[in-house]
């Protein structure tokens, strides 16, 4: 019987064929923690007397959530992590280098890898043909120390994509539509495998957006086959030798199949306070906004910034709208600078933030006031997500957010 991508990768790391539902102890190739979850990992390893790393060169500690630190408690948390790195030889990704998931795909993950991370959006790396999943601090602590993790082999859902996007419609609209269709818990414990000609036609950046939000449907991972586009991406990132092709077997068994035609989609918006509360952008027309935010591991890449800059070029954000732009990594920031995109944003009245998680997690750099409304390219709109339970968050593509920044209300980018 053929294997899905998840089954194939887990089997290769567990020393033998692994079937859905089985519990295995698997070898881990790479691991990450960030400044919100890492200190607890360090504490647990100290408690267990295992301050050590099995693969220090592929274990990365990211100082990205509070970057730069807005408070002494978080500066002290950063010190705990730098000290752990000094003792174990693991890598530190410092302030300003970018969001963990963007940096993992740029610099660390290879097709076929098994990655665990103490951050739910670790699933982003699945777009490279890796099995990448988020866990808690203690799970990842022992994955770092022992190089192993226990996993229940997931069943897989086939997300079969056909067609290509009409103008004004993007990967974010597709993923919001998928989540709206299957529900915020519709894929709990499952692997989402993105397949079909529609998946093959997507750029790597678009694939990262899809994999990134697999967890918003409850999934354990969201995977693409590694193909010519993956190969070109890794070469562009300066690591052509890291490529190897991987794909599901043609007779792989999927628990369910969901088909989506990209050509039939329209700009989509998630309303507060759940990601699966999706509506066509037309139903959001006229909703006034106080803040428009473009960035994050979901949509803070160069192509996202290009689309947004194309919309706001030569124009101004509406009076009363705080327009925030945050490149996902230093690499993206540099490229956006070289292409003149940051100048376009600044001229449009935007505030350009340092690479990091920015306002998305509610720590700093854009906390909402009581009753305020934000439209954002991030992946979550939960109650309190942007630092205030009295705030309202709408999720959309960079194009929709840019168009909304100009008008001061949620706006269909196709009309701009």
């Amino acid at each position: 019987m053929g294997q899905t991508l998840a089954e194939k990768i887990i089997s290769a790391h567990a020393g033998g064929p692994a079937a859905p539902g089985e519990l295995v102890i698997a070898d881990v190739d790479a691991a990450l923690v960030q400044d919100g979850t890492g200190p607890l990992s360090v504490r647990e390893l100290e408690k267990a007397g295992k301050v050590q790393a099995a693969h220090p060169e592929r274990t990365v500690i990211f100082l990205d959530h509070a970057s730069p630190s807005p408070r002494k408690e978080l500066s002290n948390a950063h010190m705990i992590l730098r000290d752990f790195a000094a003792k174990t030889g693991v890598v530190v990704s410092e302030i300003g280098q970018g969001v963990c998931h963007q940096r993992m795909v740029e610099d660390y993950i290879r097709p076929g890898d098994l990655l665990v991370g103490a951050d739910s959006h670790t699933v982003t790396s699945g777009a490279l043909g890796a099995f990448a999943t988020g866990m808690g601090s203690t799970d990842v602590a022992f994955a770092i120390a022992l190089g192993k993790v226990w996993l229940r082999v997931p069943e897989s859902f086939n997300i079969e994509l056909a067609g290509s996007f009409p103008p004004g419609v993007y990967a974010k609209d597709l993923m919001l539509s998928i989540i709206g269709h299957i529900g915020a818990d519709g894929a709990t414990y499952k692997s989402l495998d993105f397949t079909g000609p529609g998946a093959a036609g997507l750029t790597m950046s678009e694939r990262f957006t899809l994999s990134n939000m697999a967890v918003e449907a409850g999934a354990k991972t969201g995977i693409f086959a590694a193909d010519a586009k993956t190969k070109a991406f890794l070469a562009e990132m300066g690591r052509p030798g890291d490529f190897s092709p991987i794909a599901a077997d043609p007779d792989a068994v999927y628990e369910k199949t969901f088909a989506f035609d990209l050509g039939k989609l329209e700009p989509t918006v998630s309303f507060p306070h759940t990601v699966d509360n999706t509506h066509p952008v037309g139903e959001a027309k006229g909703i006034k906004i106080n803040q428009a935010f473009i960035g994050t591991c979901t949509n803070g890449r160069l192509d996202d910034l290009e689309v947004a800059a194309g919309i706001v070029k030569g124009k101004k954000a509406a009076t009363g709208v705080r327009f925030l732009v945050c490149p996902a990594s230093r690499k993206v920031y540099r490229a956006a600078l070289d292409k003149g995109l940051l100048g376009i944003f600044v001229d449009a009245g935007a505030t350009v933030l340092p690479p990091g998680c920015g306002p998305c997690v509610g720590i700093h750099q854009g906390v909402l006031g009581d009753g305020e409304v934000c439209i954002a390219t991030q992946n979550r709109n939960f109650h309190g997500r942007m630092g205030n339970p009295e705030g309202f968050i709408y999720l959309a593509s960079p194009a929709t957010v840019a168009a909304s920044a100009l008008t001061g209300e949620i706006t269909d980018p196709r009309g701009i």
Binding site: L40, N76, T138, A141, K148, D185
Partner: protein
Amino acid sequence: MDVLKGRAFKFGDDISTDHIAPGRYFHLRNDLPKLAEHTLEDADPTFASRVKPGDFVVGGRNFGLGSSREHAPRVIKLCGVSAVLAKSFARIFYRNSFNVGLPALVCDTDAIGDGDELEVDLVSGVIRDLTRGSELHFTPIPDSMRALLADGGLTEHIVKHGTFKL
């Protein structure tokens, strides 16, 4: 410890880790007792001041969705909660709960009312609602999770065995 007793604190569907351990208290993550004073604050601001040792958090569907923050089950446990009951759990929260020694039990929570006195038998899988005089069963805990609970959590499991023995 096999029979847990306490009152039910009832919550709805889709209680996220942002409800349980809000991001605005990010700076308290290394001071868990302080963070625990805000447990579930964005779902019920009075919860942390009312909950007593042994009590139960009772959710609906997809309890604990969202971020991987293990602080969420940790602060629930620090409040003295003996188990979380829900119709279903988000994957990472479920795993984290057992890793920190907090039972996460799947059952039909519609049958439980807010404030009901409950008795939960972890061995037989029976939940007795003493207020209503009714009984329901929770889905058996997988063996691996039972092993983690028996050791007191993942760290204690690794300390005891030196590696994974699941």
